[in-house]
Symmetry: C2
Subunit: 211 residues, 2 copies
DNA sequence: GTCTATAATTAGATAGAC
DNA sequence: GTCTATCTAATTATAGAC
């Protein structure tokens, strides 16, 4: 089980305090934003003492960066799914599989989308750090895959920037705005039915109606 | 020029202080979120004294609500564009026009998307107020229009919840994440070329390739 | 209406006991 | 490693002069 850049993830229950803080931090930062998230709330959610945040991560900023690294590590683990086969025509099936995997990831990790939406909407050192470290490689990879698919006629021709943001936006918003969706529509977007329906709707939209 | 629920928007330059605060508040809340936005920064951006926020809006929460009302008023003004003709087959052109108008609105008012993304991602009184007051009517209207279009075969068949979030997500993310886009791709999503290309890409994605 | 000054609260960070 | 207690700075809200 390759974990991003684990520090003290040794044999077993040595001390999962660091992990508990990381998990709580990701949830809290994504819910409340960097400013809105208080280290006290993070410590409480993790069930640990406030002082331990300094002990393990020193500052709030370093804790945030560690949480972001963890989130992107999870995404990479998911998207690095087996490339199955590179059959000429199976670019179509490739896109289908990857898109479904991304939809399921977004539904399982809405905090990832929320954190990205929050931090990358404004200029600042955190946005620059996040984009340089994580978004640029992700964008390059998605662009490579979609341009290949566009050239073979599998995906509609489209400028790559629109392609990326339409893809990510259409996949993620339903889950990042889950509380809004529940209240506005009465349905839970995280339900298995809606998640699969959403994945199907998006793949059909991009690939056409034929299953 | 019908403005939502203007209070003291009389003949001319009586005192635009209230308007200046509202404008600065919308920009600041959308950039930094409710907690991250400080009333001091809002006052500074508006070029007015801090005390005037209490004078005009009493509390930070009431200022936030007024800013949201303003943002949705602007959206309604835009989307209430002339229905041109209701020709049977022109459901297609209707969708095209409204989508283009929405793309242009999102590009001109990224703060609207940012504020929605920020506030509606978490449970809380502000989310509930915003959804009950503004999102529910908007969702109902979009749902009505898209279901009609789906039934006549203009839009692909899709559950209405996915339809709404795919539409809004694909339109908005490029502009809400403009700083990220600039840094990751080197291009400005607010440029006229990209805005029009984005509108064209989305309408073609939903309506098919024929112009 | 606009401003200054300040009270009350809360945050991140720190010191140091155990 | 984990905890309590506290420092310092920044915030919303307020009181009241002009």
């Amino acid at each position: 089980m390759p974990r991003a850049t684990a520090k003290t993830r040794a044999p077993n229950a040595e001390s999962d305090t660091r992990e508990r803080i990381l998990h709580a931090a990701l949830a809290t930062f994504s819910d409340e934003g960097f400013q809105g998230a208080t280290t006290r709330v993070i410590a409480d959610r993790a069930g640990v003492n406030l002082g331990l945040i300094k002990y393990y991560f020193d500052t709030k900023l370093r804790l945030w960066r560690a949480a972001v690294d963890r989130a992107f590590g999870d995404l990479r683990d998911t998207l690095a799914s087996p490339p199955t086969s590179l059959d000429a025509d199976n670019v179509r099936q490739q896109f289908r599989q990857r898109t479904r995997a991304f939809v399921r990831f977004a539904a399982a990790h809405p905090e990832f989308i929320r954190l990205m939406n929050d931090e990358c909407k404004r200029e600042g050192p955190r946005m620059r750090w996040l984009v340089d470290r994580h978004v640029k490689p992700l964008y390059a990879r998605v662009r490579e895959l979609t341009e290949q698919a566009s050239q073979t006629g599998v995906l509609p021709a489209m400028n790559p920037i629109s392609m990326y943001y339409i893809l990510v936006g259409s996949v993620g918003l339903l889950f990042s705005q889950a509380p809004e969706c529940r209240r506005a529509t009465g349905q839970d977007p995280m339900s298995a039915e809606l998640v699969e329906a959403h994945a199907e709707a998006i793949t059909r939209l991009f690939l056409g109606a034929d299953a």
